[in-house]
């Protein structure tokens, strides 16, 4: 992994930073690279409430804010910015407003790498709208000044249309940090983590790959 000047991570939901990317982020942190995480919403409309339910629709935002801060602490992210959008509504907001917010962060932080979702291949409408705004903001910069834009993609048509990821990181050195980050989002991950722990103990190859390998597609303008 190359040493970066500054890494800017942009995702819409608390826990997006933990699944699929927290190993990569933690590796950057361990190299001494400052990381800023812009999290657009508080995941207010999440469906997991704990089983039996310990959260309600109305307590979920505060619970998830707390979980997000804990995950960010575990990963070692130094700068968390909660942008105050509402879960499931990002695509209905003024796209220029969000693009401008991201442009301003790029101006301020001068990141050499941005991590977000690949528009068209990230399933949730909030993911798509976030990725689109990041692409617009980066695309507005002159080509020579653009930071690298490495994206997560996981829709069922990803490999068919985008091909294999061009960036593959083995993050097994920080797998424990990643598991702790996922665990920090207890309201959303408790059940899943319990199932995962069993599979990891059995050394299930699919689960190990899911945990240890993080994959990115460089955005093609």
């Amino acid at each position: 992994m190359e040493k970066e000047r500054h890494v800017l991570v942009v995702f819409p939901h608390p826990d997006d930073e933990s699944f699929g990317v927290s190993g990569t982020i933690a590796s950057h942190v361990n190299m001494g690279t400052p990381v800023t995480y812009a999290c657009l919403t508080l995941g207010e409309m999440g469906r997991n409430m704990g089983n039996p339910p310990f959260a309600t629709r109305e307590t979920l935002p505060a619970i998830r804010t707390h979980e997000l801060k804990e995950a960010v602490r575990v990963i070692g992210i130094s700068d968390l910015r909660m942008l105050g959008y509402r879960d499931k509504t990002v695509e209905f907001e003024d796209p220029d407003k969000l693009t401008k917010q991201i442009s301003e962060m790029i101006d301020e932080l001068n990141p050499s790498l941005i991590i977000s979702f690949y528009p068209g291949y990230s399933v949730h409408p909030d993911h798509e709208a976030t990725g689109e705004a990041v692409v617009r903001a980066v695309g507005m910069l002159p080509e020579a000044k653009r930071p690298k834009l490495e994206c997560i993609a996981f829709s069922n048509n990803t490999i068919e249309e985008l091909g294999q990821p061009d960036i593959v990181h083995d993050i097994s050195a920080v797998a424990d940090t990643k598991l702790d980050a996922i665990r920090a989002h207890r309201s959303q991950t408790e059940l899943m983590v319990a199932e995962m722990a069993v599979k990891l103990k059995e050394k299930d190859p699919q689960t190990l790959a899911w945990l240890n390998i993080e994959r990115f597609w460089t955005y093609k303008f």
Binding site: M45, G46, R47, N48, M49, G50, N51, P52, P53, T56, R57, E58, T59, P61, K88, V123, H124, P125, D126, S155, N156, L191
Partner: protein
């Protein structure tokens, strides 16, 4: 939240009768349903802070429960209700959790707007 106790919920519903109240009504099967199963038709809707006055309200069924609020020109309806809570702000929170414990439906009533 606790499993629905019909009498307790009914009393709470009656307390809001003929008052201006704010409603949160939601149904969802999640944004990932069609991703996990392409044959599954994903749908959902929510309305937050709709202001209504209802003249009668009832929770009924053998569980999961159904709830209907009769408003001047129509109805507010939710089915699949399994849990309830009267929170510290005296709001009535009704929710239906599916077999995995995930929220599937919510109906909430408050005298002040939800944040």
């Amino acid at each position: 939240m606790d499993p629905v106790i019909v009498e307790t919920v009914q009393e709470a519903l009656d307390r809001f009768q003929n008052k201006e109240v704010y409603i949160h009504l939601e149904t969802t099967n999640g944004a990932y349903a069609s991703h996990k199963d392409e044959a599954f038709f994903s749908s959902g809707a929510y309305i937050r802070n709709a202001k209504v006055v209802y003249e009668r309200a009832k929770i009924t069924g053998n569980g999961p429960f159904r709830t209907g609020l009769k408003i001047p020109f129509g109805w507010v309806y939710a089915e699949g209700i399994t849990h309830f809570e009267i929170d510290s702000k005296e709001r009535l929170l009704l929710a239906g959790h599916d077999f995995q414990g995930k929220l599937a439906v919510a109906l909430e009533i408050s005298e002040t707007p939800f944040e």
